[in-house]
C-alpha cells in the first residue's frame, strides 16, 4: 500500500509501526484521532507535528518523517496526553520509543541541544553515579557553543551555595558503569 506525501507516493512501512508498538507497549491502532492529546499538550506550538498526527504517522509507517522530527525532541514527557487519551494510549512512552530509535539509527536529532543536554547529563551520572550540575553544565556549554547563556543566574546560584564545585562519587560507581554498558549495547 502507498500513501501520498508532500514528497510523492511512499510505501507504508508497517515494520516501523510494529516496532514502535512493541517498544512502547502501546496499542497505537486504537487511536481514532479525537485530538484530545494535542489539545492539552503544553508544547504543541513548539514542534512541527501535533501529538495526534504523530500517532497517525506511526499507523502509516512514516518512519523518516517521525525520526527526523523536532516534535519527538520537544516533548517534555509530561504525560498529559496519555492521562487524557480515551483509549489509554501512553503517548509519552511512544515518544520515548521514537527518540530511542532515532538515536540508535544515528539520525541527527531534530533538536540538537536537547539531545546534547541529555547526553551530558547521563555522562555525568556515568562517571560519578550521581548527577553533578556544575561539570555537566560546563560540558554542555562547551559542546553546544552557548557559552554565555545563564552566566548571571549561574553565579547567583553559586553564591547561594546551590552549585557544588566538586562531584560526589558513590561507592557503587562500578555497578553504575556496568548498567550503562548493558543499557547501551544493541
Amino acid at each position: 500500500m502507498y500513501i501520498i506525501t508532500e514528497g510523492g507516493p511512499k510505501a507504508l512501512d508497517l515494520n516501523f509501526t510494529k516496532e514502535v508498538k512493541q517498544r512502547s507497549g502501546q496499542e497505537i491502532e486504537l487511536c481514532f484521532q479525537c485530538q484530545k492529546c494535542a489539545s492539552g499538550c503544553p508544547i504543541a506550538e513548539y514542534g512541527e507535528i501535533d501529538t495526534n498526527q504523530v500517532l497517525r504517522m506511526i499507523q502509516f509507517g512514516l518512519k523518516d518523517e517521525l525520526l527526523k522530527s523536532k516534535a519527538i525532541w520537544v516533548c517534555v514527557g509530561c504525560e498529559t496526553c496519555g492521562a487524557r487519551c480515551p483509549n489509554g494510549i501512553r503517548i509519552a512512552a511512544v515518544m520515548d520509543a521514537l527518540r530511542e530509535m532515532a538515536i540508535e539509527q544515528g539520525i541527527t536529532p531534530g533538536e540538537k541541544d536537547i539531545n546534547l543536554f541529555h547526553q551530558c547529563f547521563l555522562d555525568s551520572v556515568k562517571s560519578h553515579g550521581r548527577a553533578h550540575e556544575s561539570t555537566m553544565l560546563i560540558r554542555y556549554k562547551l559542546k553546544s557553543g552557548h557559552l554565555m547563556e545563564d552566566v548571571g543566574v549561574g553565579l547567583k546560584m553559586f553564591l547561594k551555595g546551590k552549585l557544588a564545585l566538586f562531584p560526589h562519587s558513590v561507592p557503587s560507581k562500578t555497578e553504575v558503569k556496568r548498567i550503562f554498558e548493558w543499557a547501551r549495547k544493541k
Partner: protein
C-alpha cells in the same frame, strides 16, 4: 517512625533548602529518616527520554539497596519519585523486566512496594492530625496556589494519585497549616521540566503562564514539591514577575515555628520577604 530516605541529586545542590527543610520537618514529626547509604541517580528525564534500559536499570539499583533496608522509602523530589516508582511498577508487573534486573544487579526482588512520594506519605500515612498538632504559627493570612506539576501525578496507575486533573493532597496539607488554598486550573500543567537549559525560552513561557494563573486566582505564593519545578518557576520567569515559590516542607517549617526556616528561605532566587512579613503580622 523510621523511614528509608532517597534525597536525589538536586536536594544536595540546586534545591538545598528543600533537603534541609525535609530533614527538619521530619525530625519535628518524630520521623527518623535513614538515608540509603549508597543511592545513585535515578537517571531523571534524560535516561527515559533516550534509553529505556537505563531508565529502569539506574533506579533498580537503588531499589535493590532499599530492599536491603526493609523500610518504606520516602522520596521528596517528584522526578526521582516518578522514576523510582516506575521502575518498581515495571519490576512488579512485568516478569521479563524483573528477571532482567535480577540478573543484571545480582539480587532477588521481593516485589514489595516501598517507594512513596514524601508529600503523599505525609498526608496519608503520617496524617493531617499529627501535622496539625505541630502547628504553632498558623499561616492564616496566606492564599496559596498548590502546584503539583506532572511527575508526582501522572500516570495515575503508577503514582497512585486520586485524580490526575484535580489532586488535593497538597491543598489539604496547606489547609492544615492554617492557610487558604485557592482554586485554580493550572495545578497539573507542566513547567517545561528538563528542557530548562536547552530550550529556556519555551520553559519561560510555560512557567510564566503558571505564575500568571496563580496570581489571577488571587494567590500570594505558589507551593510545590519538585526541585525542577522550583528552579523553573524561580529562574525561568518573565521579567517583572515577583510571585514567590516555596517547597511544601518550608511552609510546614514556618508553621511549626522551626527557627532554621530563615536559612532555607535565604537560598531562594525570588525574594520571599513580603510573604514572610504577612506570616509574622498574622
Amino acid at each position: 517512625m523510621k523511614l528509608a530516605y532517597y534525597p536525589g541529586c538536586s536536594l544536595e545542590a540546586t534545591a538545598k533548602e528543600y533537603g534541609s527543610s525535609v530533614r527538619s520537618v521530619c525530625k519535628a514529626l518524630d520521623v527518623d529518616l535513614v538515608e540509603i547509604p549508597d543511592w545513585t541517580c535515578c537517571g531523571a528525564t534524560s535516561a527515559h527520554a533516550t534509553n529505556h534500559r537505563l531508565a529502569v536499570g539506574l533506579p533498580a539499583l537503588t531499589i535493590k539497596q532499599m530492599q536491603a533496608m526493609d523500610l518504606d522509602c520516602v522520596v521528596p523530589c517528584s522526578a526521582c519519585f516518578n522514576r523510582l516508582k516506575t521502575a518498581e511498577y515495571n519490576m512488579t508487573n512485568d516478569a521479563a523486566v524483573r528477571q532482567e534486573m535480577e540478573k543484571l544487579l545480582n539480587f532477588k526482588y521481593d516485589g514489595k512496594p516501598r517507594v512513596y512520594d514524601l508529600l503523599a506519605y505525609m498526608v496519608e500515612k503520617i496524617g493531617l492530625p499529627a501535622i496539625t498538632k505541630k502547628v504553632q504559627k498558623p499561616l492564616k493570612n496566606l492564599k496559596i496556589a498548590c502546584y503539583y506539576g506532572c511527575l508526582s501525578v501522572r500516570p495515575a496507575e503508577i503514582t497512585g494519585i486520586d485524580s490526575t486533573e484535580n489532586p488535593m493532597q497538597m491543598d489539604k496539607l496547606v489547609k492544615a497549616l492554617g492557610a487558604t488554598p485557592v482554586n485554580w486550573s493550572y495545578k497539573v500543567e507542566c513547567c517545561g521540566a528538563g528542557h530548562s537549559v536547552a530550550k529556556s525560552a519555551m520553559v519561560t513561557n510555560l512557567s510564566g503562564r503558571i505564575l500568571a494563573k496563580a496570581r489571577e486566582a488571587g494567590a500570594d505564593l505558589v507551593v510545590n514539591s519538585c526541585p525542577l519545578c522550583q528552579t523553573n518557576l524561580e529562574m525561568r520567569r518573565p521579567p517583572g514577575e515577583d510571585m514567590p515559590v516555596f517547597f511544601f516542607t518550608e511552609l510546614m517549617g514556618l508553621a511549626f515555628g522551626i527557627s532554621e526556616a530563615g536559612n532555607w528561605l535565604n537560598k531562594h532566587l525570588v525574594d520571599p520577604s513580603k510573604v514572610l512579613s504577612a506570616i509574622q503580622a498574622g
